[in-house]
Amino acid sequence: MQNKLIGLIVLVLIAAGGYLGISAVNEPSTLTLYSGRGESMVRPMIERFESRTGINVDVRYGDTAQLAVLLQEEGDQTPADVFWGQDAGAMGSLAKADRLATLPESLYSDLPPIFRSRTGEWVAVTGRARTFVYSPERVSESEKPESVFDLTEPQYEGRVGWAPTNGSFQSFVTAMRHEHGDERTLEWLEAMDDNGVEAFRNNSSQVEGVADGAIDFGLVNNYYLPRYKANDEQYPAEQDFFESGDIGNLVNVAGTGIIKGTENREQAVEFIRFLLSPEAQEYFTQEVHEYPVRSDVERNPQLKPLEELVNAAPEINLDELEDLEGTLDLLREADLI
């Protein structure tokens, strides 16, 4: 028995050594991508890019925030060439930590201004609008709020959900601070809390909460409900924008950037150019239900047209969404996180 076990251990050590040897060899024409977006969405695009260009892409999937922290920990020694994150906050934090290289202007010069970073260190891949999801059975047309600020009124007491720990909610609070000031934002946060707002884990759990009757309204990103509707047309929830220009309709983005010091800059630029191409953009809007960053792709029937979104969205520069620390301080002051 013990001989077998010892034998097994030795075998394992040999195998481990073998792995070491294999993984130390790295082909030069390989691009390494750290992706905070899920594999099911990213992989089809990677496969098309590989067959189109002959460039190999190694992808490390993970949670956006964890990968952003990892990139900081790795510093100059990172094997990553490109990062693709879920939200502007993560991209901003990497830019601030000086981990992103400047992109060639030709990549983003013809995108609408809401999808560009002013510093040119990263660029939006898709747009994701903040919106409210509601129960058509328990909410009458006249009860639909015009502004996110209305939700502190007595008629919404105990009926609204939000996700204070969620990145896209925090980006929305950052935008609110920028537009209306810290004081008014804190007031709103505290008034919401006093009004019995229910805290959820993330966007999809709020959509489910509305369907299940736990809440009547939820503050979410636009693309979750369409995914539920795609499985069940009768799914008992609907969503709508606040009135045009309301901060509750903020357009956040998923973004991408090139890691500083990469030896594969050319391939990295080519990859980002592909993500912004009509072909990839059409896939993102049709299959993933997010907004394309360009208007020349076929519209997803589940989504409102891009022009309407651009109209409804408040005018916020994406770089303004970088001040997460101030937002977290505020959320802490209101005892929400």
């Binding site: 050594g17 070491l20 594999e39 993970g62 925030a65 094997p79 805290a199 999809s204 736990a214 008992p236």
Partner: protein, 519 residues
């Protein structure tokens, strides 16, 4: 009577302790970079106290519920004439393979306006959430930690103690309380400790159940602020709470002697006749199995049927499983190999230092996994860069996180073993290593297998360490399931989640089958 520990025990045990200090060192390094004022604001918040109380309430609830499930179950499959004991044992372990968030989704999905019962039977149950939701969710897949520990202990129990008590006229209840329960104490404590520490650090279930605990604070710092410096402070706070757990276990267990002394041959008790209790026993077992395995299976089937994915999804599953197992199996062996000398040192050569070494093994388990992974990233990049993003580092990370898990069953069996056997071997001229391999090792066979099973299942569904340490392009089943559910693509996640449960169940069955009937 404690002799100095022989070198072949002492050296590897110390090595484990040193390895555990690495993440602590990293935390210290990062914590040192912080600005004191911000630390004060972040650490001494009233809300932290509130979160802390919630955390303790949660841990307590989970310990009570898991004990109510695991103790009777372990007793039934070891000490009674209940049939199908091996099958029931496997069914009692497989819930460990259920990812926490899948269990939470399963519980949440039952009730509510759009819940399964409302959809299928037009019968709306209240939505399960909050404190009780979190307790139920965590208990239903962590009770096997306790079950496996208790089972190892019950199998090693010396029947002669009970028999003497019985012959002295003690009632069955008194025997259970005074003898069996006190013999089970080390394994109860070991199980409680790993479950308590798990409940302390869990974020997945509690977040979905919407019950706010301390892990919220850490999660927010990493995930909301993309920060690793202040997160280090919060991790240190969590470790401090974990330390209280670990120390209280060690205080309770101190000065216990479990092995029988004197003459007589160790024997195993004949099984209790269940008699009229047979039906209630089967009802209990069925409820446990239905809740812990039935629920997640139902939710997975429901996701699958809602929107069946293409066949190619299913073809991919075995490949991804093989990839996960290739790393999980060596990690299980490594963790068990690391736990063995530590447990042996602590039980056979107790001393202040042995105690400290044993306690240190809990660092890897109690530390937030993301912190542990970052520490290893830091270590690899600053020492042996070639190790970075190799499977070897992932295996090491998993092993550091699970040494404490593997230690539980080993330690309780060692505590039950009489040192006189080893002494006899010595006097017969066996050297220390010959004694260890020929006398101690065969006795530990079942506990070693239990330890392997515990670690293997942990690794199969582990996420944060895998995310950070695995080679680029290496995805495990758990990673696939997680990324799909978090995108709201439940149907695409279901086959992979089912595969974790199915294949892990089969692997555990294989491992436990090696137990044989030899004692």
């Amino acid at each position: 009577m404690a002799q100095r520990a022989p070198l072949h025990i002492l050296a590897p045990a110390l090595l484990v302790a040193v390895a555990m200090v690495v993440p602590l060192g990293y935390l210290g390094l990062r914590a040192f970079q912080a600005d004191p004022q911000t630390v004060m604001d972040l650490v001494f918040r009233e809300r932290n106290l509130h979160l802390l109380i919630n955390t303790l309430k949660l841990s307590f609830g989970v310990l009570v519920v898991t004990t109510i499930i695991a103790l009777p179950l372990a007793w039934l499959v070891t000490r009674t004439d209940m049939g199908h004991r091996r099958l029931l044992t496997i069914l009692g372990v497989v819930p460990l393979a259920v990812p926490g968030y899948v269990m939470a989704y399963a519980l949440i999905g039952i009730g509510g306006h759009y819940g399964i019962t409302a959809q299928l039977f037009d019968w709306q149950l209240p939505r399960i959430q909050g404190y009780w939701g979190a307790v139920a969710g965590l208990s239903l897949y962590t009770f096997p930690y306790l079950f496996l520990n208790l089972r190892s202990a019950l199998l090693g129990l010396d029947a002669s103690l009970e028999e003497s008590a019985r012959s002295m006229g003690h009632s069955e209840t008194a025997i259970f309380r005074r003898i069996i329960l006190s013999q089970l104490m080390p394994s109860l404590m070991a199980g409680w400790l790993v479950i308590g520490l798990y409940a302390l650090g869990d974020f997945g279930v509690v977040a979905l159940m919407r019950y706010e605990v301390f892990s919220y604070a850490i999660f927010n710092q990493y995930s909301g602020a993309f920060d690793r410096i202040y997160a280090a402070w919060l991790s240190l706070m969590l470790l401090a709470i974990a330390l209280v757990f670990v120390m209280s276990e060690s205080v309770i267990l101190r000065r216990r002697r479990l092995a029988s002394t004197g003459r007589g041959v160790e024997r195993h008790a004949p099984p209790h006749q269940l008699g009229k209790w047979r039906i209630p026993a089967w009802v209990f077992v069925s409820v446990v199995v239905l809740a812990s395995l039935g629920l997640p299976v139902v939710i997975l089937a429901y996701w699958l049927l809602m929107a069946p994915p293409p066949l190619s999804f299913f073809l991919e599953v075995p490949l991804v499983f093989a990839r996960s197992a290739v790393a999980a199996m060596p990690a299980a062996l490594l963790a068990t190999a690391m736990a063995l000398p530590v447990a042996y040192l602590a039980v056979r050569h107790p001393s202040r230092m042995a105690n400290a070494v044993e306690r240190s093994a809990y660092i890897g388990y109690a530390i937030p996994p993301l912190t542990l992974a970052l520490a290893l990233v830091f270590l690899a990049l600053n020492t042996v860069t070639v190790l970075y993003q190799t499977l070897a580092l992932l295996i090491l990370g998993w092993a550091l996180a699970t040494v404490a898990l593997a230690m539980g069953p080993l330690r309780s069996t060692l505590m039950q073993m009489r040192p006189s056997m080893e002494e006899a071997a010595h006097s017969l001229g066996h050297g220390p290593s010959s004694t260890f391999f020929n006398v101690v090792f065969p006795h530990l066979r079942k506990s070693i297998l239990a330890a392997l099973a515990l670690v293997f299942l942990f690794c199969m569904k582990e996420l944060p360490i895998t995310f950070l340490l695995a080679p680029t392009g290496y995805t495990t089943l758990a990673v696939t399931v997680f990324s799909r559910t978090s995108e709201g693509m439940m149907a695409e996640a279901a086959p992979f989640a089912a595969a974790i449960m199915l294949f892990s169940g089969l692997s555990v069955a294989l491992i436990l089958n090696r137990e044989g009937d030899r004692h």
